[in-house]
Symmetry: C2
Subunit: 135 residues, 2 copies
């Protein structure tokens, strides 16, 4: 089985599933990227346009790490220049319950938060599927 690097590239802190999960998604931005992919964002620009304004270098870094961890997949939708459409893998999509639990907690205990409409992971395909260039 492939090794799953933590968010900081280190081995897992402990075999606790919570600690191991936080090694991958325990930071301020990763779950927001996952949230946006759930809501149908696909491209770098769409992810960047979210209301939290993730810094562009952080977004690039999180996309790399989440892909390396197997939570998301990058598929080129055009060449010259190569542009990628990002989507959740089954592993990443498995975080839906986590996101829902967090959203419910936020709604209950943090005043001023809105109630999100739950969106299904979109099946719409980006144009021009082509061969991979990136390893």
């Amino acid at each position: 089985m492939t090794k799953r690097p933590s968010i900081s590239g280190e081995p897992c802190r402990s075999p606790c599933p919570v600690a191991s999960a936080l090694d991958l998604i325990g930071d301020k931005w990763s779950l927001l990227v996952v949230r946006d992919l759930f809501y149908g964002s696909k491209t770098y620009g769409e992810l960047q346009a979210s209301p939290e304004h993730i810094p562009t270098n952080i977004l690039a870094d999180r996309l790399k790490r989440l892909e390396a961890a197997g939570l998301i997949a990058a598929e080129p939708y055009q060449e010259r220049p190569v542009r990628y459409a990002y989507s959740l893998t089954e592993c990443g999509a498995g975080l839906k319950d986590v996101l829902l639990a967090i959203a419910r907690w936020g709604n209950e205990y943090i005043p001023g938060t809105f109630k999100p409409k739950v969106a299904a992971a979109s099946g719409a395909k980006p144009r021009r599927p082509s061969k991979r260039v990136r390893g």
Copy 2:
């Protein structure tokens, strides 16, 4: 006090419940402290003894922040020197579903993680600090 400070002391990034929640608990350590309190840890020493070995200054900082955010409460159990027993508030205890969802996801997608026994939040008062060893 109406304002809920983020983990970095800033105002919330957006009214999204997920983003707002991550402002409070979106880091590598906060949810592990909450997890340990769920499992019955009460004192600083017990929290520090967890297998992930949280740095002591980080633990002190997180306890302050989580208390300021209203997720945990610190109650003195002895004077001279003052020692505090930490416990989850209702707000902090509300994170149980979040922890469970994360643990389930970790168990399903991260190999090598153990299945935790779910422990109820204990209402027992601390007497003498007792030795606990958790794995």
